[in-house]
Amino acid sequence: MKLGLIVNPIAGMGGRVGLKGTDGPEMLKKAIELGAKPWAEDRAVDALKALLPIRDSLTIYTYPHKMGENAAKRAGFNPEVLGSVGEETTAEDTVRAAEDMRRVGVDILLFVGGDGTARDVCRAIGTSLVTLGIPAGVKVYSSVFSASPKAGGELALKFLRGEVSEVIEAEVLDIDEDSFREGRLSVKLYGYLKIPYDSNYIPGGKVPSSHSESYDREAIAAELLEVMERDVIYLIGPGSTTKEVMKALSLDFSPLGVDAILNGELIGKDLNERQIIELISGRKAKVVVTPIGGQGYVFGRGNQQISPEVLRRVGKGNIIIVATRGKLESLRGRPLLVDTGDEALDVELSGYYKVITGYREYTVYKVVPASTLES
C-alpha cells in the first residue's frame, strides 16, 4: 500500500499571532517576526501514528525535510523521499509534490495544511487521486479536512484497509486573505478533491452511516428533475449537490460556476452576474443552491455571481435550496445563513424554506441573515 504525505511546514503559523493566514512570503516573514512557530509537523506526526498498525505493509512517499520526511521519521516510518526543496518552501513545492505523488500512484495522499494547501493540491491533481486534508492551517473552510489529525490518520487507515470505501467529491474553499485581514469575508469555491467519506471522521458530518452522502445527492437530483417546470430557466449554483442534476441530465457544467438549464438543455455555462441578468431578463427563472462549506451559507459563500440584483429579479419564491440530510444534521439545529452583501435583501430572504433533502423528501428549514448571528 502506498501513502503520499505532503506537509506544508508554514501552515497555521499566522493564526497564533493573529495574522489570519500565511499566504505569500511577506506574511510568513511577518509571522516569524511575531514569534510564530511551525506546528504542522506535529499535526502530521499525530496523524501518521494512527497508521502504525500497518507500518510493515505501507510505503510512505513524501518530500524532503520539513515537507514530510521529518514527520514520517518522527512517527516511526522509513519514508521514500522524492524531489528536492530549498530552504524556504513555497506553494509550487506543494504542487510539484502532489504531481509526483500522482506519478507514483499512491492509494491516498495526506496533505497537512489549511485551505491554501488544499487549493495547491487541487490545482495540481484535481480529482485524480484520493486525498485527505489533515487540518493544520489557520483557515479550514474546505470540506476536505478530517476532524482532527488523529481522526485523519484513522480514516486513512480504514480506507487503506478497505473498511471505508465510499469516496466523495468535497469542496475546496478559500477566503481571500487580503479582504479577510481588512475585515471582509469573501469565500470562493476553488474546486473539488476526492476524499474517503465516513461521517465519524469528517467534521460536522456525524450522521448515521446507514445513508450514504453520494446516494442522497443522486436522490436530490432525481427529485429536482421531477419538479422542474417547462419554460423556466434553472440557474444551478456551485456545489457538488446541485451539480448532480447536471450529471443526471448528461449536461456539461462548470463545477465552480453558475450554469443555466432550460427544458433540459444547457443554455449558459459558468455565468457571471451580468450574463445571468441578461439571460433571465423578462423570463421566469429559478435558482438552485446548496449550503457551501460547514457553516451553512446559502448565499454569499462561493456563489457571489448570484448577486442581490439577480435574487431580486428571481424572487424569493423561486429559490430552491437542496442539501443532503447529513449536511442539515451537521448544523446541529443552527439555521442556514444568507450574506448577499445587501442587508435589506438578507432580511427579505430570511424565513422558512422547503429544502429538498432526497427523492420526494423535504425538510422545512430556517434561513436567517448572517448578520443576526454575528451581533
Partner: protein
C-alpha cells in the same frame, strides 16, 4: 434497602458459535422419517399435485443439522443476549422495555391452539376479549374505534397513511404530502413514503427542542394530506402546543395521525382526542405488557375517530345484541382493506387485556406517573453525578418518560464518545442501545427507565455508567477498545454495515457477494 452492585467481575458467555449454515453436514437430519412401501403407496406421488412450472428444480439450500446440535446452537445464542428479563434494560431508549408479567403467559397458553379460520361460534370468548380491549383503548385515547390488525407500529403508521390516502380520494382531493418532525420515529416518515407520499420534515426550536410551530405553518399547503407525529418525541420532550399543531393541519385540510409509541409516560393523563388527532395507535407490545418484539409478533392497535371508522382495515369485531353474539364485521364501506392477514396477533391482545384488567384505571395512571418519576430521578442523578454528560436541549429540562442525553463534553475532554460508552456498558452486563437517529444531538445516548425497575436497579445502572465515565477520564483506552467481557470484541470495520458491496442480510447473499469465503 437492597444491594446496589457494580458487577466488575461480570463476563458474558462467549461461544464463538458458527452460523447455522456453517454447521451443516450433507444428509444430516433432525428426524429420520420411516418411509416403508406401505406409506409410499398410501401417500402416492405428492409432488404431482403441484403444477410442473411451480416445482423448484433444486432443493432449498437449508442447513442440515441434527436435533441436538440445533438445540445447542440456539441455547448458546440465547446465552449471548442481554434480554429484557436478564438485564436492567433501561438503555434501550424509545423501546419502552418493561416487565411483562409471567402470569399472562398462562392465559396465552390457553389460546395458543386457536385457528384463525375457526367458526365464530367457537371463539366467542376470544372475540369478546378483542371487543373489550377495543373499549378500553377507546377510554384511554378518546378515539372511537380500534383495529388490532397491524402487526406493529410501522404497519399501523402505514395503515394511517392508507386511511389518509383513502379519505382524500373519497373527497376528490389530490393531496400528496405528509408532515412529520425530525424527532418522531423514522417510520413516521418511512411508512407514508412507501405509500407514495412526499414527506416534509420539521426541525425543532434549537433552544427548547419543541417542534417549531412557524416551521409547521411554512410546511402546510393545499398539498398537505396529513401530519403523523410522535408526542412526546424520541428526545422525551412533549410538545405542549400539539393542539395548535393539529388545528393548523386541519385548517389546511389535512388529517392528523398520532404515533403513540411513546405513550408510556402519558397513559391515562393525555388523550389523542383532546390533542386534536383524528387517529393514532398504541403499541400493545412495549406499552401494554407484551415484550418488545424487535420485528417479532406485535400489535399496533389502530384507533380512529367516528368519522373515519369506515376506513379501518377489515374485519373489526362487533357485537350483535339480538343474537347475543360477537362477530367479525367485514362490512365497512370505505375500508382500506387489509394491512395484514386476520385480526391481529392474538397472544399480544390477550396480554394487553390481562394487563389492563389487572391494573384498572388508577393502575394505568400509576404506570405513567412512576415511569415519569423514574425517568426524572435518573436524569437528576446523571446530570449531577455523571461527568461529561448533559441532556439534549439543556435550556428545556422538562422530560416525560425518556431522555436523549449528550456525551459531547465527555468526548471533547477524553476522546471517549457515546459509542464507546455503549460498548463498555456491555462489560457490566448492560444493554445500551446504539440507535439515536438522527445524530443532530452530538454523542447521543437515550435512556428510558419505564415503571418496571426499582430504585436500586436504577441506581445500579447509574453506578455502572459512572464507573465507565470514570474510566474514560482515567484510562480511556479501556473504554475505547471495549467490550472486553462480552460475547464479541469491538468491531472496527463498520463497512460491513455501510457498504452496499459488502453488507448481506442473508447467507445466500453473503456467499454471492463474498464468493463463499469469509
Amino acid at each position: 434497602m437492597g444491594v446496589v452492585k457494580v458487577r466488575r467481575g461480570f463476563h458474558e458467555a462467549r461461544w464463538e458459535e458458527p452460523i447455522i449454515f456453517e454447521l451443516s453436514n450433507e444428509g444430516e437430519r433432525g428426524i429420520l422419517i420411516p418411509l416403508d412401501d406401505k406409506i409410499r403407496r398410501e401417500v402416492g406421488d405428492v409432488l404431482s399435485s403441484i403444477p410442473e412450472h411451480m416445482r423448484r428444480k433444486d432443493p432449498p439450500k437449508l442447513p442440515e443439522v441434527s436435533q441436538m446440535r440445533v438445540l445447542k446452537h440456539y441455547l448458546r445464542l440465547s446465552q449471548e443476549t442481554l434480554g429484557a428479563d436478564l438485564n436492567i434494560d433501561i438503555g434501550q431508549g424509545t423501546c419502552t422495555m418493561k416487565y411483562s408479567p409471567k402470569v399472562n403467559e398462562r392465559f396465552v397458553a390457553m389460546v395458543r391452539e386457536l385457528h384463525p379460520y375457526q367458526d365464530e361460534e367457537t371463539v366467542q370468548g376470544a372475540l369478546e376479549i378483542m371487543y373489550k380491549l377495543d373499549l378500553f383503548l377507546r377510554e384511554i385515547s378518546g378515539l372511537d374505534r380500534f383495529s388490532f390488525q397491524p402487526g406493529g407500529g410501522s404497519q399501523a403508521i402505514f395503515a394511517m397513511a392508507s386511511i389518509i390516502r383513502a379519505y382524500h380520494k373519497k373527497r376528490g382531493e389530490e393531496r400528496d404530502e405528509i408532515i412529520t418532525t425530525i424527532f418522531s420515529h423514522p417510520s413516521d416518515a418511512a411508512a407514508p413514503a412507501v405509500k407514495g407520499f412526499k414527506v416534509i420534515t420539521i426541525y425543532p426550536d434549537p433552544e427548547t427542542g419543541i417542534p417549531d410551530v412557524e416551521a409547521l405553518k411554512a410546511a402546510v399547503s393545499k398539498r398537505t394530506a396529513g401530519m403523523i407525529v410522535a408526542n412526546p418525541e424520541d428526545t422525551g420532550i412533549f410538545n405542549p402546543r400539539i393542539k395548535e399543531f393539529c388545528d393548523i393541519v386541519h385548517e389546511a385540510g389535512g388529517l392528523c395521525g398520532y404515533d403513540q409509541a411513546n405513550a408510556n409516560g402519558i397513559m391515562g393523563i393525555v388523550r389523542a382526542k383532546e390533542c386534536g388527532f383524528d387517529m393514532g395507535f398504541f403499541n400493545l407490545h412495549k406499552t401494554f405488557s407484551s415484550p418488545h418484539g424487535c420485528g417479532g409478533p406485535a400489535v399496533g392497535a389502530l384507533g380512529v375517530r367516528r368519522e373515519l371508522e369506515n376506513f379501518l382495515p377489515v374485519p373489526v369485531v362487533d357485537y350483535d345484541p339480538e343474537r347475543k353474539a360477537y362477530y367479525l364485521n367485514y362490512d365497512l364501506p370505505d375500508t382500506i382493506g387489509k394491512v395484514r392477514e386476520f385480526y391481529g396477533v392474538f397472544p399480544v391482545v390477550v396480554r394487553a387485556y390481562a394487563w389492563i384488567m389487572a391494573l384498572g384505571e388508577e393502575g394505568l395512571k400509576e404506570v405513567a406517573r412512576v415511569a415519569v418519576l423514574n425517568n426524572n430521578y435518573v436524569m437528576h442523578r446523571i446530570l449531577r453525578e455523571v461527568r461529561g454528560a448533559d441532556i439534549s436541549y439543556p435550556a428545556n429540562k422538562r422530560r416525560i418518560e425518556q431522555v436523549r442525553y449528550s456525551l459531547k463534553k465527555l468526548k471533547d475532554e477524553t476522546g471517549v464518545g457515546a459509542e464507546d460508552v455503549i460498548r463498555r456498558m456491555a462489560d457490566f452486563g448492560f444493554h445500551l442501545w446504539t440507535s439515536h437517529h438522527p445524530w443532530i444531538i452530538p454523542e447521543p445516548l437515550t435512556i428510558e427507565p419505564t415503571e418496571s425497575y426499582s430504585k436500586e436497579e436504577l441506581d445500579e445502572y447509574i453506578e455502572a455508567l459512572k464507573e465507565v465515565v470514570g474510566e474514560a477520564y482515567e484510562e480511556p483506552e479501556t473504554v475505547i477498545n471495549a467490550p472486553h467481557r462480552s460475547v464479541i470484541h469491538k468491531i472496527e470495520d463498520n463497512s460491513w454495515f455501510s457498504d452496499p458491496k459488502k453488507w448481506s442480510i442473508t447467507w445466500r447473499l453473503f456467499l454471492k457477494k463474498h464468493g463463499g469465503k469469509l
